[in-house]
């Protein structure tokens, strides 16, 4: 059978003009989008404008846009007229709009600087009163929204293309996403519902406007309900990154496919921790969210406050704390009650999964019938679901116990635990001196309540806690520290806000600069209620993720390591943060003062053996780079798509003369690549230009075919990057479609 073609069967796609129903649905989507974006902008970016006046101007733009795009013809002229009138309006009172733009820019830069570590500073050159600023900002923002309605209306009423609407509206939300601030969820849900409705109707709407409108009108409320349901089922204020995601992140990072944040930033490299030692990266010290998920269950013989120490960190770098590897319980000797004594015991149960990590209270003597030495750091050789600990209560006022370290221990303590990076020493000392002066000048009394043998060390710690409290605010939503900044210096000198990770890290270095050996410790702080379980006779409590905490241990010669609380009480919204602030060095393990929840990870039991707090900050940087790349790629794709439509139009246009002339112009564009129109094309182009007769379909096909052949020929003869450009600029394919 012959394969002679019948000729191209044209596409059945016939783009339809808008119908009353499609215009109605389009206006609804447009109004919802603009109103939600406006509300989002005002709520998140804090533009100093009223909602209603700007919305009215936006609605005016929607009305004009709808009328223009509903017309069967003269649309381009009317768009130009609208733009011209707006331009004239702008020129008429240019200063008003300049002030408005400056005010908006100032608001945005303030927002950006406040919520990210990219500092952009802008101040309006002219100071305006609040009312004036509000008026000019409203005028500017209203005009912007009215103008935005034109392309959005075009995309919704005429193109019925989801991607263009998405591209026009997403930029309003991007700064908030990148800054990781609290979002205006109601507005965001409406925007997402509009996007969903447009996306789901985008296949049908171009060819069946009324049908597309029906899809939009049905999808809009349904998707809004579904998105609202997602928000209710997975509330954002109880969100933590899922364990599988954290685990996957660890695994992926272990593959070393991506450069580390330090490599990217060119900063100092972090030394590898010793085997089995924890590492806490500061890049994970971003905004905190807790779900209240129980991590441990503690059943103790006595009620009261309890610190459960998990990991101990020794070396400080600008990017991370490097830990101390725990010893194995296998190496401990058996506990003999004849020689040792403990007054309290507790059974600690892992509620998530068996774990090798051992969380120990202070003054622990025994764990699982093994004798513990003072300050022992131990881990089980195999994961264990629960274990029993014997301990004595922590001394309120420590006194020497005659525990004299060996020479090597002493060397380690007084060298390693006094080490401060050289580049930081001056900064820390300067800060300490200045903070002391400010404290003295303020007339505020210095906290120095400790007495006894170690009053000096304890009062210094108390003083440093007081200085830190004066210097910084407790804030669980503290953004991440810039990768090129030192964590502690940035906290002390620039951000002035943080939570226990920030306060404890700064306190450790400040204590070291004052000659007191100190180390950073993480674990849990909890209070065991005084309600006894009648069945077991024990006092039981559950330790949740928000009980995670970081604090400081100082070394007292003759006593050992002693916990010091330096984090002020928070004003956060987690359940235990309304407890009274005690920013003191009171060594009693009062978990009420440790309410600032912070641990190396938000789900501390996810990877307790190696709580690598991987750098999400690094990935934010990837995101910052990825967005322009995606936008560029989308732009190139859009350009190619438009060129391709242009090419298809040449093959299907009823006016063959115009199509041939367009193809001839494309030949002109091809000349710079070395392409050339053939003699037949030249002749046909002349005929199309000057003859009164219409060219035949065959003549048009001839010209288009020659153009395609020329592009194909050039593609085969040029280097690969030019080939790619030709592919981008002249999407003629193999010619089958256009013919």
């Amino acid at each position: 059978m012959s394969s002679q073609p019948l000729g191209k069967a044209p596409s059945v796609r016939q783009s339809e003009p808008p119908t009353p129903l499609s215009l109605t649905a389009g206006v609804l989507v447009q109004v919802l989008l603009l109103a939600s974006i406006l509300r989002f902008s005002i709520a998140v970016y804090q533009f100093p404008v009223g909602f209603t006046p700007v919305l009215v101007m936006g609605l005016l733009g929607v009305a004009v846009s709808t009328v223009i795009w509903a017309l069967p013809r003269h649309r381009k002229g009317l768009v130009l007229l609208a733009l011209g009138l707006t331009g004239a309006f702008l020129l008429y009172d240019q200063a008003l709009f300049v002030y408005g733009a400056q005010s908006c820019w100032e608001t945005l830069t303030d927002f950006w600087s406040e919520n990210t570590y990219f500092s952009i500073s802008y101040t309006m050159p002219h100071s305006l009163s609040t009312l004036q600023q509000q008026a000019v900002t409203q005028m500017f923002l209203g005009t912007v929204f009215a103008l935005l309605a034109l392309p959005v209306g075009w995309a919704i009423h005429r193109l019925r293309a989801f991607w263009l609407v998405f591209a026009l509206t997403l930029p309003w939300l991007l700064p908030a996403f990148l800054a990781e601030v609290e979002l205006d969820w109601p507005a965001l849900l409406v925007i997402c519902a509009c996007w969903t409705a447009l996306l789901l109707s985008s296949l049908a709407a171009p060819w069946n406007p009324s049908g597309g409108a029906r899809i939009t009108l049905v999808t809009l409320p349904v998707s809004l309900a579904i998105l609202w349901g997602i928000l209710l089922l997975f509330p954002f204020h109880r969100y933590t990154q899922p364990t599988w995601a954290a685990y996957l992140q660890e695994q992926l990072k272990g593959l070393d496919w991506f450069p580390s944040g330090e490599e990217l930033g060119g900063g100092p490299t972090i030394p590898d921790p010793e085997p089995g030692a924890p590492r806490m990266s500061f890049s994970s010290a971003g905004p905190r969210y807790y779900t209240g998920q129980p991590i441990l269950e503690v059943a103790a013989t006595q009620p009261g406050s309890l610190y459960l120490r998990g990991e101990v960190y020794r070396d400080y770098t600008a990017q991370a704390w490097m830990g101390v590897a725990p010893g194995s319980t296998e190496n401990l000797s058996n506990f003999d009650p004849q020689f040792s004594y403990y007054s309290r015991s507790a059974t600690i149960t892992n509620l998530t999964s068996p774990n090798t990590m051992v969380y120990l209270p202070y003054q622990a003597i025994m764990v699982e019938d093994k004798l513990l030495f003072r300050d022992s750091l131990v881990a089980f050789p195999q994961p264990q679901q629960s274990y029993t600990v014997g301990y004595n209560p922590l001394d309120d006022s420590p006194s020497a116990k005659g525990i004299i370290p060996s020479l090597s221990q002493r060397e380690e303590i007084y060298s390693t635990y006094l080490a401060v990076p050289e580049e930081l020493s001056d900064n820390l000392l300067d800060w300490y001196t200045q903070a002391m002066e400010e404290l003295e000048n303020s007339g505020e009394s210095i906290r120095a309540d400790a007495t006894g043998q170690y009053a000096g060390e304890l009062n210094t710690a108390s003083l440093i806690a007081q200085l830190l409290e004066r210097n910084a605010t407790y804030d669980l939503r503290t953004p991440r520290t810039p990768s090129d900044s030192d964590f502690v210096v940035y906290f002390l000198e620039e951000s002035h806000r943080g939570y226990c990770v920030h306060f404890a890290s700064a306190a450790v270095l400040l204590l070291r600069t004052q000659g007191i050996p100190a180390r950073y410790v993480s674990g849990y702080a909890t209070t065991i209620p005084s309600t006894q379980d009648p069945s077991t006779g024990k006092y039981t409590t559950r330790v949740a993720d928000f009980n995670a905490h970081a604090w400081v241990e100082i070394y007292l010669y003759g006593y050992g390591w002693y916990p010091v609380e330096v984090t002020p009480a928070s004003t956060g919204d987690t359940p235990d943060q309304s407890l009274p602030p005690v920013a003191s060095t009171a060594p009693t393990p009062t978990p009420t003062v440790t309410s600032a929840p912070a641990t190396p990870t938000s789900t501390p039991t996810a990877a307790p053996e190696a709580p690598d707090q991987s750098g999400t900050q690094v990935h934010l940087i990837w995101l910052v780079w990825a967005v322009p790349v995606v936008v560029l790629a989308a732009g190139l794709w859009l350009m190619r798509h438009l060129r391709y439509r242009h090419w298809r139009k040449m093959g299907q246009d009823k006016d063959t003369n115009a199509a041939v002339l367009r193809a001839y112009r494309w030949f002109g564009q091809l000349e710079r690549w070395g392409g050339k129109a053939g003699a037949e094309t030249e002749a046909l182009a002349r005929k199309a230009r000057f003859s009164q007769h219409s060219l035949t379909q065959q003549e048009r096909s001839l010209v288009l075919g020659q153009f395609r052949d020329e592009v194909v020929r050039l593609r085969q003869s040029v280097p690969i990057w030019k080939r790619w450009l030709l592919w981008l600029l002249f999407p003629v394919g193999t010619g089958r479609r256009a013919r």
Binding site: Q4, P10, V12, L200, N208, F236, Q249
Partner: protein, 327 residues
Amino acid sequence: MLGRRIVYGVALLAALALQVFYDGYLAQFLLIGIIVLPLLSLALSLRGAVGMRLELTPSVSQLVLGESGQWQITAHTRSFLPVARLTMVLTLENRLTGARQRQRLNASGLSTGMVRTLPMDASHCGQLTCQLHRVRALDLLGLFAFPVSVPAPAHALVLPQPAPPQDLPPLPPMPAGDHGNWRGTPDLENYDLREYRPGDPLRSIHWKLSSKHDSLVVREPVKNGLPQAAVTVDLFGDGDRLDQVLGRLWTISLHLLGREVPHTILWLDRDQTQQQETVASQGQLLAAMAYLLSCPAPTQPPTVPLDLSHLGPAPRVHVTLGEEDAP
């Protein structure tokens, strides 16, 4: 559909990557949203896609070469929402020339009763057949495809344009005692009776019987079973040649009918098998032409001669390009 699946896959992977590498709530919201989106799309489009039915019809069943006609695809769905997109494979075939085209086709936004049209290719004579295969209805996102029952194929006839009479050579003389000469006296002994039809000559009216039946009855001479002429056709070549040959055949056949000469059209098909159709009226001419247009024509001149022995001494008209001769 593949492109949309790839885009969705990329979006899903991006959301997963965001969930892994970014610890904010937005990552989870996006991931859940992207997972739920196809389910929503499926739920909204299921009813329309599953109950979809198509009809394929030609706008005209016959058209003359060069006229325009269309294939019409009519949709019927059970949902008030349109089916987002139909994908199908369209086969267009000209049975005479053997030209065949197969292409993928999309039709978007089809609601009940909505018609999408495709132009017919009436550039050459022949029986056109339009057939749809692998019809699939997509969901609103274009990720899932539901099979749709294939409609019956549609056919249309592209008839030749009659060649101008002046281009035709004079026809050979018909034998004496031409049965078809109604201008002479009818054969009163060998005839059939039938009702009068407009255009019948007055002489053929059987007045006696007409008065008995209160309606006009005419006498129609009975043919002896043998046509009075044989029209042989050189039916081979490309579309243009076939168009011209068929145009001449059409004109000659009409001319013979105009002279009341029943005749037999004979030709050889692609398998060198002799085909013939007897034509005694315009209706029969149309039927014969429909049959002829549905037989694949050879592209090369046939190597075997036509067998005319069963036709007796009937005069022969040979239709070919350039000259018509009577042997």
